[in-house]
């Protein structure tokens, strides 16, 4: 079986988010990057499948050279090889196109990724990849078992769970508790150095969106305490200041 896990390279969740160039560019200065947490779950499940059933496991990232440490961490965790599509990930469709192009070339049985990245949180790439490849795409998958060519999955839905069966090949957007995050072991880290990391150029530019600007959410305000006997004041504040009534 051939598994592809798509990895995003995202700011650590504790990073301070700032923008430059008139709020059009994310300020990378001093930001530490990690494997997207949902992608990390997908990777952990892929490593388990590889250990249980035997599989070749490739990780892929669409990003510039600076994302290689993130890919190498994925290799340390247990992937066999890595592919970096050498381009800034311009938007979801662009990324999906790149993944689909690689997948068409290499023919994977199972394509896993996080339900969404944690930088732009589009949550669209798995669906687009499925569409581009003509494969079923299921998300958010919290359980995934393979039996022969059948895949048994559990999806989170509003107020409950949905059990889905599908046949390989397929695309899945994963989330916890599909597997437990894996910390790379020292031997894995040392062997990551010698595993192949191939850089390929992107296919034709397929950008369909253009970010005009970003705005940060307003800073958290102070708490206003209203005396319990003064309901009128509370209503006034909710109406005029919070503007929720």
């Amino acid at each position: 079986m051939k598994i592809l896990v798509c990895i995003t390279h995202v700011p650590d969740t504790t990073s301070k988010i700032q923008f430059t160039e008139n709020n059009t560019k994310f300020d990378k200065n001093g930001v530490q990057y990690i494997i997207g947490p949902y992608d990390d779950y997908a990777l952990a499940r892929a490593v388990e499948i590889k250990e249980q059933l035997g599989a070749s496991l490739t990780v892929l990232n669409v990003g510039e050279a600076e994302t290689e440490p993130t890919l190498r961490k994925a290799l340390a965790i247990g992937a066999d090889d890595a592919i970096r599509v050498n381009s800034f990930p311009k938007d979801s469709f662009f990324v999906a196109k790149q993944i689909a192009a690689i997948a068409k070339q290499n023919g994977y049985d199972l394509i896993l990724m996080g339900r969404e990245s944690i930088d732009f949180n589009g949550g669209m790439v798995h669906g687009m990849v499925g569409e581009l490849l003509g494969m079923p795409s299921i998300s958010p998958v919290m359980k995934l078992e393979i039996e022969g060519d059948k895949v048994k999955m559990a999806r989170e839905i509003e107020g409950g769970k949905e059990y889905v069966d599908a046949k390989l090949p397929l695309v899945a957007g994963c989330q916890e508790p599909i597997a437990e995050w894996k910390i790379p072991n020292m031997r894995g880290i040392m062997s990551a150095r010698t595993k192949p990391l191939v850089v390929v150029e992107p296919t034709a530019d397929a950008v369909v969106t253009d970010v005009t600007s970003f705005i940060l959410p307003p800073a958290k305000g102070t708490v206003k305490l209203v005396d319990k006997d003064n309901v009128g004041e509370l209503v006034r504040l909710l109406k005029n200041e919070a503007k929720v009534l």
Binding site: T14, K16, G30, P69, R72, K73, A76, W181, I183, P184, N185, M186, R187, I189, M190, A192, R193
Partner: protein, 603 residues
């Protein structure tokens, strides 16, 4: 980095020689030079602590679940963290010395588990790695490197602590000559509660010196007292161990008969430098938590991080931590380079490692003393920043404060280490391994000559600071040289003077390391990007000069009188003259940077 390193020829320095030789920035290793792979290892280690240890700190310290620490220990083994220094042929990772320092550094933030870790990987495993026969190594090291077995180190006895060689534990050969029967009592044994393997020091018959043995728990005759109730590191197992006719096969003697004391001393050398690095994880996490807390805590309507009194504390935590990092990784790389050089000359691996560690025993003692005192300072200020919450067992500072205190005691008390570093230096000078005599004579001659009025060109970064370091070295040569002459054989009984001399050594090494690190960093990143580091360097040097002045004065007063004393005090004044820096502004600059980054942001 590797390309830079390969094109620059490094000048090597011998242990203790920093007192008489100048070192260039290019010749030291700095934290910022760790490779992507080493950083990934450090991060993996941090992730392990954050997921397996921090959420359970209280449960670990309660010792209510005896299986908990061994299970975390096994997980550390699965990640390969227990075999960092063990060669690959024996199931370990065979990582470089400075990489193992880095791992010890990160694990240092794990509270009591860092003692469990250090006892196993350091004093528990290394005696076999460095002194074991091939059979002993292949039999035991793979088990220890993977965490299948846990190890402990049984040296201290109720009446033999700092004076370790006075131990009373006996080993007697059985009539058939096949076993030794070990009898005695050992105390303060870390990991004893769940150890499978004991490195035991005992005297055979009426030997003068100790002999070391590898003892498996299964040999029988081993019993233990309850867990000790300790001030800190409560989750680390510490018990008294009794050996009662414990039957050890003769082939389990480690190294030669009566070589045990030497093993103990050499293994402690490594333990010391690792402990120097091992405080860093704790320092960083306490400093970072303090930065966060000071941002969240509001008084008088504003965050307390806006107050100068708090900024002073935050900055000072950073300054000292940065200094400790600078000296530990500088010494670590010097040791690693020496190990490699000796091995390249054809010396067997274990022997090369031991020799290199022995060479830098002075620096190892400095790292231990400096590190443990920096940690103590940092946790103390951490409690203070937290105020009332700092004193509460519900907030993290209380535990950090208690856990830190042991570092000044174990691996040789800081007092023993201070005396050791002076003693070792004098011994090396006597043996001609380091030329202290001529530089000391030159300083002595300079004292009675007209001072030079040459001014230093200060246009280059750190030119003035380096000049100050040169002069501080003269302070040491002046005071140390005079003390050696005036006190001669009595030196050892004048422990106060020895401790003063040790303080001079520590501060000179630390201040020089800080300057060289920042200089190298500026070379890598440019002056603009290194402003907070430059500020920290200036603050550290200012403080080092003040400490050196005090220690030198105390020493001078202890063994000189009259004109001689006057000449020395004048010399001291001359050699500690440095431009006054505005430490208030510099510390504010450092603190503001920390507040902006929300943590200790320098490594």
């Amino acid at each position: 980095m590797s390309t830079i390193m390969s094109t620059i020829t490094k000048t090597s320095i011998n242990g203790g020689e920093f007192l008489v030789k100048e070192t260039e920035a290019k010749d030291i290793f700095i934290f910022e030079e760790f490779t992507e792979e080493q950083k990934m290892m450090a991060q993996a280690c941090q992730d392990f602590i954050d997921t397996e240890i921090h959420p359970r700190s209280e449960e670990i310290d309660s010792m209510k679940h005896p299986e908990l620490v061994p299970s975390i220990f096994k997980k550390a083994g699965d990640l390969g963290l227990l075999g960092i220094a063990v060669p690959e042929e024996f199931g370990g990772m065979g990582m470089s010395f400075n990489s193992s320092m880095l791992i010890a550094d990160i694990i240092g933030g794990a509270g009591s588990f860092s003692t469990t870790y250090g006892a196993h990987t350091g004093i528990g495993t290394l005696p076999i790695l460095y002194y074991g026969t091939e059979d002993q190594k292949s039999k035991y090291l793979p088990k220890l490197a993977t965490g299948e077995w846990a190890a402990c180190y049984c040296l201290t006895e109720p009446d033999a602590g700092s004076d370790a060689n006075s131990g009373k534990t006996k080993a007697t050969l059985t009539e058939d000559g096949k076993h030794y029967l070990i009898n005695g009592q050992k105390m303060w044994i870390s990991n004893a509660g769940f150890a499978d393997l004991f490195i035991v020091f005992a005297k055979i018959e009426n030997d003068k010196n100790l002999t070391a043995f590898i003892v498996e728990k299964g040999f029988g005759g081993i019993t233990m007292n309850e867990e000790e109730k300790k001030m800190g590191i409560k989750g680390s197992s510490t018990r008294q161990v009794f050996f009662n006719d414990c039957k050890v096969p003769v082939e389990n003697m480690l190294s030669d008969r009566q070589n045990g004391f030497k093993i103990a001393v050499n293994i402690l050398n490594i333990g010391r430098i690792k402990l120097g690095a091992g405080v860093l994880g704790g320092c960083r996490s306490v400093a970072s938590m303090s930065v966060k807390y000071a941002g969240e805590r509001k008084q008088f309507g504003v965050s307390i991080n806006s107050f100068g009194a708090i900024k002073q504390k935050l900055a000072e935590m950073a300054v000292r931590t940065y200094a400790c990092e600078s000296l530990c990784y500088r010494a670590g790389q010097d040791i690693e380079d020496r190990m490699d050089a000796l091995a390249a000359e054809g010396m067997p691996d274990a022997q090369a490692k031991l020799k290199a560690l022995e060479e830098f025993a002075i620096e190892a003692a400095i790292a231990k003393v400096h590190g443990s005192e920096v940690l103590d300072y940092v946790v103390d200020q951490g409690v203070q920043v937290y105020g009332g919450m700092g004193y509460s067992a519900d907030a993290p500072m209380e535990r950090a404060y208690r856990d830190a205190r042991i570092s000044r005691i174990y691996e040789g008390t800081n007092e023993i280490n201070r005396m050791l570093m002076v003693g070792m230096l004098l011994k090396r000078a006597m043996k001609g391994e380091i030329n202290l005599f001529e530089p000391a004579m030159a300083v002595s001659a300079e004292l009675t000559s007209v001072p030079s009025f040459e001014t230093v060109d200060t246009s280059e970064l750190f030119a003035a600071e380096k000049e100050t370091i040169k002069k501080l070295k003269k302070v040491f040569l002046m005071v140390g040289g005079k003390a050696a002459m005036a006190l001669a054989d009595k030196m050892e009984s004048e422990q106060e003077v020895m401790m003063n001399l040790a303080d001079l050594m520590i501060e000179i090494y630390a201040a020089e390391s800080v300057i060289l690190r920042t200089e190298k960093l500026v070379g890598m990143r440019g002056e603009e990007a290194c402003q907070p580091q430059i500020a920290m360097t200036q603050v550290y040097l200012f403080e080092a000069v003040e400490k050196i002045q005090t220690a030198a004065k105390e020493a001078i007063a202890a063994f000189t009188k009259g004109d001689e004393q006057k000449v020395m005090l004048m010399g001291l004044k001359r050699y500690t003259k440095a431009d006054l820096v505005n430490t208030k502004e510099l510390r504010r600059q450092v603190a503001d940077y920390m507040i902006e980054k929300g943590k200790y942001p320098f490594s």
